[in-house]
């Protein structure tokens, strides 16, 4: 069967299934469970109308429960068992995590990532949005800056692996070093700083995202407030930092927290470049390392990540809601 046909059949089944579900469920409710007849038809109609909203909500609640709520509970449960899931170990997995120096390294590195990547991506995005705002070729510049967003993390990592390559004929960094008569080196093996070289990749990707959102926010600032500030004698820097930035602060916070959440989930970049070696481990890649080998431990890491992300997520949602209000 051709994929197109398969797709069409799936759509037909899905839509038809939904229609059939609501139609049949209503009939069963009105005709079988609470028929408007017998001793007290009025009461039956009222009861049916009380049940009906739940009938309509059920598919959504079921899907959310199955795909969102159950995995959380299931993961937590699984993290309390040993590697093959046969023996209950309580919080043993979490204890072993706390004792593992490479886990602590991952937490520390992740902390660095969360501090640096959202800050730099948001700042550069804001800068790009402001600088491209009033110039003719601004849109071309914007498209170029946005383009990395369309590349997968693994693809981006490969591109940057070439930039960082030791061979000066391939790697840009080492080509420059050689041009200045320095020895080529592998940036990804420089202790501590290699973390930042990896962060550059994510910043490169996320700057475009920040730029697009912040550019829209900048355009939304009422023109008169800017003109009033010009008349008040503000120079371009004062205009930007005292008039424009404060007015788009809610958007900046949303962009910042959105990137923060992303940072706490990205494993591909580390996985595809250093594989977590040379002191570049972060929590998601640490989790990947144990996945399929020790699922108990891997789910424990997943749970730790979730708990770290949660407050940022709540903050993000509060800000986004405040902005739409």
């Amino acid at each position: 069967m051709s994929p197109i046909l398969q797709g069409l059949i799936t759509i037909a089944l899905g839509v038809g299934g939904c229609v059939a579900y609501f139609y049949a469920a209503n009939i069963v409710l009105d005709k079988v469970i609470f028929p408007p007849s017998g001793k007290d038809p009025g009461r039956n109609i009222n009861r049916a109308n009380m049940v009906r909203p739940w009938l309509f909500l059920f598919p959504a609640i079921f899907a959310l429960g199955l795909y969102l709520a159950y995995p959380v509970v299931g993961s937590f449960w699984r993290s309390l068992f040993n590697r093959d899931g046969g023996t209950f170990v309580g919080l043993g997995n979490y204890e072993r995590l706390a004792m593992d120096p490479s886990f602590r390294q991952a937490v520390f590195n992740n902390f660095l990532w969360v501090l640096v990547v959202p800050a730099l991506a948001t700042f550069l995005g804001l800068l790009a949005a402001q600088l491209t705002d009033r110039i003719k070729w601004g849109n071309i510049a914007k498209s170029l800056i946005f383009m990395p967003m369309a590349i997968s993390f693994v693809g981006a990592s490969l591109i940057w692996k070439f930039v960082y390559a030791v061979n000066p004929d391939i790697g840009m960094i080492n080509a420059i070093r050689v041009a200045f008569h320095m020895q080529p080196l592998d940036p990804l093996q420089v202790p501590f700083w290699n973390n930042f070289f990896l962060m550059v990749i994510l910043i490169w990707i996320q700057t475009g995202f920040a730029m697009v959102i912040l550019s829209a926010a900048l355009r939304g600032i009422p023109e008169e407030t800017i003109e009033a500030a010009v008349l008040d004698g503000a120079n371009p820097f004062q205009l930007f930092f005292k008039i424009k930035v404060p007015q788009i602060m809610p958007t900046i916070v949303v962009v910042w927290t959105t990137i923060t959440i992303l940072v706490l989930k990205v494993f591909d970049i580390v996985y595809a470049t250093t594989g977590g070696n040379f002191g570049t481990q972060i929590l998601p890649s640490y989790m990947m390392q144990y996945m399929f080998r020790d699922d108990g431990r891997a789910t424990a890491v997943a749970f730790v990540i979730m708990i770290i992300v949660l407050p940022v997520m709540i903050w993000n949602i509060i800000q986004a809601r405040r902005e739409t209000r």
Binding site: E227, A228, V230, L231, D232, P246, Q247
Partner: protein, 361 residues
């Protein structure tokens, strides 16, 4: 104290010309109002004086100094915007203090200036609020306060009352008039499309139309001696009635035989060569009086609008012309569908030839 001089000022966007040959002398302490129909360029002219729009021709001088290329903040002006343009993230106090902070004034000076302005505008209780916690009228007062704090030589108002409701508009208008009185030596330029604002506030009104100035004069000059048909019809509400005819008698007193059959006499003098010239006479609705003898206009009343103190009578319009309107004191409900003859004092009858008043030539 500031005098403004506009010499052949022009504005064009590329090929499209918006304003041409604007010549205007504004004396220190005047309150000049720019009026005109939508799109006549009155706001553009104001923004050119402010420095928000580039002047593409001619020169602008403030106190004898050419201002064309001086940045807005150095022109000694402050502007009040229609949309208030308050900084939403700053308290009322910070909004008013912003310009002074930028100018690096001392904290004491800033506090003194802000408190004085707040006191003047009854904003003292609201100094620590954000603009969103204020009503429309209060916001506009903050915007005015922001201008006062800077103590500019020239105040610019861009339709400052348009976003307020009717009652508040009247109150704020009076406040602006009082503000002007409190600062007699400050020059103010005020843009509006509201005639009442123009007539009540202005020392002189500038009527803008067709890319240029149609007339400059005191409110009563514009009302009593309009220079052309446009000004005649733009100032006053309802608009002045215009009737076509032919001059039959010239001299100190001019007689016009109207196409509708009526006879009009005007105190505007004409010359012998004006005999049989095609002209239009203009009579304001409020200058019409019912008459028994030699009528300017006779017609049947189609619609009666009784406003209480006056009644508007709309006469049946002939063939696409605007209806003749008369404004009579008192209530005249019973006049509907009756035939009325209208006359007017010859001193109240205006004469226009080719759109221009015969009074000015």
């Amino acid at each position: 104290m500031a005098e403004l001089k506009l010499e052949n000022v022009a504005k064009s966007y590329g090929e499209v010309s918006v304003l041409e040959n604007i010549n205007l002398d504004i004396k220190a302490g005047e309150l000049i109002v720019f009026v005109g129909p939508s799109g006549c360029g009155k706001s553009t002219l104001l923004r050119m004086i402010a420095g928000l729009e580039k002047i593409t021709g001619g020169t602008l001088e403030i106190d004898g100094v050419r201002m064309n290329d001086v940045p807005p903040s150095n022109r000694g002006i402050a502007m009040v915007f229609q949309s208030y343009a308050l900084y939403p993230h700053m308290t009322v106090r910070d909004n008013m203090a912003f310009a002074l902070k930028i100018a690096k004034q001392s904290k004491e000076e800033i506090d003194a200036a802000v408190n004085k302005a707040a006191d003047m505008l009854q904003l003292t209780d609201y100094l620590d609020r954000l603009p969103k916690a204020l009503s429309g009228g209060q916001r506009q007062r903050v915007a005015i306060g922001r201008a006062i704090v800077r103590d500019p030589k020239v105040y610019l108002f861009d339709e400052p009352l348009s976003n307020l409701d009717a009652a508040l508009r009247v109150a704020t208008r009076i406040e602006i008039a009082q503000l002007k009185e409190a600062m007699p030596d400050r020059t103010m330029i005020y843009v509006t499309h509201d005639q009442v604002e123009a007539m009540t506030l202005a020392t002189r009104i500038v009527v803008l139309a067709n890319k240029g100035i149609a007339q400059v004069g005191t409110p009563l000059e514009l009302y009593e001696q309009p220079r052309n048909e446009f000004v005649a019809q733009f100032i006053g509400s309802p608009a002045m009635n215009l009737l076509s005819g032919e001059i039959t008698e010239t001299g100190e007193m001019t007689t016009v035989k109207l196409d509708g059959g009526g006879i009009a006499r005007s105190t505007i003098p004409t010359r012998p060569e004006d005999l049989s010239r095609r002209v239009k006479i203009g009579v304001r609705p409020e200058d019409f009086v019912p008459t028994e003898d030699a009528a300017i206009y006779t017609g049947r009343v189609d619609i009666v609008e009784a406003l209480g103190e006056v009644t508007l009578l709309y006469f049946e319009a002939e063939g696409g012309h605007d209806p003749i309107i008369a404004k009579l004191p008192g209530i005249h409900h019973d006049r509907r569908y009756t035939e009325i003859s209208l006359g007017a004092d010859p001193s109240k009858v205006h004469l226009f030839a080719d759109g221009q008043s015969l009074l000015y030539r």
